[in-house]
Every structure is written in structure tokens, then in C-alpha cells.
Symmetry: D2
């Protein structure tokens, strides 16, 4: 994938203040695939002390959306239209790693998925699976 697309995604990610609030960062950008990592920080927990579903969803959403963006022309942005998450296990560990993938990159709609794993040392456990739709829009046409 060209370096300009990766730069474009990093710039867009950096402008998502929610990602900074969650301490999330992009760790991989490849054609049709983007990884986003976030700590399970003290300020992102649910009532049982595990990572909040909102944290898992947020980084899964970003990873999936940017995965779609890798397949689109430079003048396009994406907005999430709909997204479903199945939570598989409590989000506990050193950090969460979301891997977004593209199932179909269409002109009007892109279908995407994301897997979220909790990583503890060398072990990874899948905590969520997401499936949904992002819509390509011209940049600045939120």
C-alpha cells in the first residue's frame, strides 16, 4: 500500500480525539487491514472492573473504518453506518488489539469486520467480533 494512504489514515486517526482519550494508537496499516491498540486503562472500565464494551466497540469501529479507507480513493472519507458487536469474553489483560478487515469494498457501501483480542504477555484471547457497514463520503462531507 502506498505511503500516502498510510499517512492519510494516521492523520485522520490523530484527529479523532476519542482515540486519544482512550489512549488508542494505530499499530498496523495494510491493504484492507488496520490494527488499533488501546490500554484497558483505569478510566475505561465497566462495573465489574473489565474493559467497557464502549472501549472495545470504539477501537473495533476505528479499525474497521480505516481498513475500508485503505481501499478507497484519496479524496474519500468514511462514516460508520451500522455496526454489530458480539462480546465473547471479559476484556482483561495488558491491552486490547482490534484488527479491522474489509469484506466488500463497494462504491456506495463497504462491509467490514473487526476482531478484538485481549493480550496478556504472549497470550491473546478474542473478546469481540464486529460486523457492519461504512459509507464512503467525500472528504469534508460529514
Amino acid at each position: 500500500m502506498d505511503e500516502e494512504t498510510a499517512r492519510r489514515i494516521r492523520r485522520s486517526f490523530a484527529s479523532q480525539t476519542m482515540m486519544a482519550t482512550l489512549g488508542a494508537e494505530v499499530t498496523e496499516i495494510a491493504p484492507g487491514r488496520v490494527c488499533v491498540r488501546a490500554p484497558i486503562s483505569p478510566g475505561a472500565l465497566q462495573q465489574q472492573g473489565f474493559g467497557h464494551a464502549g472501549l472495545t466497540f470504539a477501537i473495533g469501529d476505528s479499525a474497521a473504518g480505516y481498513a475500508a479507507l485503505t481501499m478507497l480513493p484519496p479524496e474519500m472519507d468514511v462514516v460508520t453506518s451500522e455496526l454489530k458487536i458480539n462480546l465473547l469474553a471479559p476484556a482483561r489483560g495488558d491491552y486490547l488489539l482490534a484488527t479491522g478487515s474489509v469484506v466488500k469494498a463497494g462504491r456506495r457501501l463497504c462491509v467490514v469486520t473487526a476482531e478484538v483480542h485481549a493480550v496478556t504477555g504472549e497470550t491473546r484471547k478474542q473478546v469481540a467480533l464486529l460486523q457492519g457497514t461504512v459509507v464512503p463520503v467525500p472528504k469534508g462531507d460529514g
Copy 2:
């Protein structure tokens, strides 16, 4: 609804550090219905400057989960099993208000929905609709 259930929900909500991070608060608790409100704060935006889908999802999830909890015996907690969100409009305005409702309160599974509105002065605009499943679990059995 009895006051003890409302107290229980407020206590549980207060222990969700993610809600504090987002500045969210419970504004209504009624049988089968809970409202959660959050600012669209500078730290909760996506790349176009609107509220992040992760914010909308997080308060919709909490509102829906606690709506289910109003229908369950005091010794139970809930965990989200799966949740789908359709985003209807950009999240912009003074604040977001999520209203969670119970469609079916089962012993093993509760089906819930949540509507999220963006409120600006006197006007409300629906920005999201969520539908999903929460699972009753004994307290402390995360």
C-alpha cells in the same frame, strides 16, 4: 419502581469508570427504562468533529443494560452479550441522551433497545438506534 433498585443502578453506574471518563450521568430510572446523558465533549470526537460512535454506543449500551436491570431480582447483574447500532445522523448538539428500553426480560436473556438523541436547546434529533441482548448473571460472576 422501588428505591432500592434505583440505588443499585446508580451505584453500579458510578463504578463504571468509562461513564465518568465520558462525563455521562443517569437522568432517569423507571421500570424497563433508563436514560443516560453525556456531553459531546472535546475529547470524544471522531475525525469530522462530531461525537464518536464509541461515545454514542457506550451510553446506549449502559442505558439498555440498566433498563434490563430494572426488571431483574436484586441479586442479579447484567453483561452485554451483543449489541447492534445504526447511526442515523452526526452526533452534534449540546449533549447526547440515550434512552434504554426492555423488549423482553427473560431469565436467561433480555432483549433491549436504545435510542440516542442529540439535544440542542429545545430540539432533539435521533442520532442512533441500538438493539441487542444482555445476559443476567449473579452479582460478582462477571
Copy 3:
């Protein structure tokens, strides 16, 4: 709602051979709302003898799609982009009745819901809730 829209929907429904196979019929057409009814016939069951989820889904899908069509200009058709179903109770009774509704009628995307009830004599029991997206397309542009 104008009579031409109702005629258009009945014509389109009549061309869905799956609806005939299931014995389904349109029972109501109103702005943003369409009802579809189907028997729980001997050929539409799952392994426990209740109506198959495929039956419930199929009439929910049709009701929701045509509900969207009531809000669109005459030259448009719709295709389902995505749809989620939560099954609430076994589909048993005299017949199923799906009521499709429009949450948001957009130019590019319509967000829809459908409730499906099992009807037995005078009693109705909700057996499913659906939420999803249909896409307006020019007629003949499947």
C-alpha cells in the same frame, strides 16, 4: 398515502415468488408502515415444530423494505443491505404478522425496523424484532 404507491407495493410484492411460496400477503400499507402476514404452514417449520427463523425473517424483511418504499419517489425500488433479527419466542399460533416501520428515510440509506407477532385467536405475542438498512435504487438497477 396515494393509491399509486399502494398499487406499486402490491405489484412488487406479487413479483416476490418467495412470498407466494410462504403464503404471505400484504395486509396493510400506510405511510412508513407495511404489514405482511403469513401462515405457520407445515412446510415452514424448524426442527422443534415451530415456525422457522427463515420464515420470520423473510416476512419481517419484506414488511420493512416496503415500509421504506412508501417514503420514496415512484421511480425507486429498495434492496436490503443488512438486517438483524432477535428472536423472542417460538413462532407458534394461527399465523405470523410482521409490521415494518421506517426509522429514517434517507436518500442513500433508509433505517427500518420490523416487529413480528404470532397471532392465536385474539391474542398476539411478539416473536421477533428486526432492525436494519435498506438502500434505495432506481427501478431495474438491482
Copy 4:
């Protein structure tokens, strides 16, 4: 996988009269994976002449549910709790092939996916992706 599980699944499938109505058959049973094939028959079409979403959903649902059943003890059955489908392309071709897979086989809930492809001669095109939850229940406890 043991032969008894395969027999059990074929027996259960045979008792789903909806599958016979659709002309569907099981073509593969392996641990965590079941394939179901159905013709795009004249009686299973939507208004544009493609396979109806109800057909695609029905065989995806069956494939996913039986995939979960391969992971469960012999005295268990499954019921679908919720299922989401994204439709990727019109269902046209010689036949549809649904491949169900298990993401997580839990005691209380199983998370499953299914891919549905349209097959035309030697070529396969993915027409749908499903993700959802099936619930293990004791046999006869519909």
C-alpha cells in the same frame, strides 16, 4: 468428528420442513463447520428475480446453528437467539452454498458466523455474511 453427531445433525435437518421447502441439503459436517446448499429456485425469488434474502438467511441460519451443534454434547439442541446478515451481492447463479462456523462455543451461548456464496459453474461469489448467537437447550425444551 464422530459419526453419531453427523447422524444427529442430518436427522434434525431432515425435520426442518422449511429446508425441504427450499430444496436445501447438508453437504458437509465437520467439527465447528457445516455447509448447507440450496437452489435459487423459481419459488424463492425477490422482486428483481434474484434469490430472496429470506432464502439466504434461512440456509445461513441453519448452517450456523448446526455448526454450533457439532461442538455440543449429544443431549443438546440449539435455538437461534439473534442473527445479523449483511447482503453483499445479488443472489444469482446455479445455487447458494452457506458455510456455518463457530466463533465461540459456550455453555450458555454460542457465537457463530456464516458465509453464503452463489456458485455458478466453477466460480463462487460471496453474497452474504452472517453473525449471531445460538443458545444450547436440552432436546425437547424448545
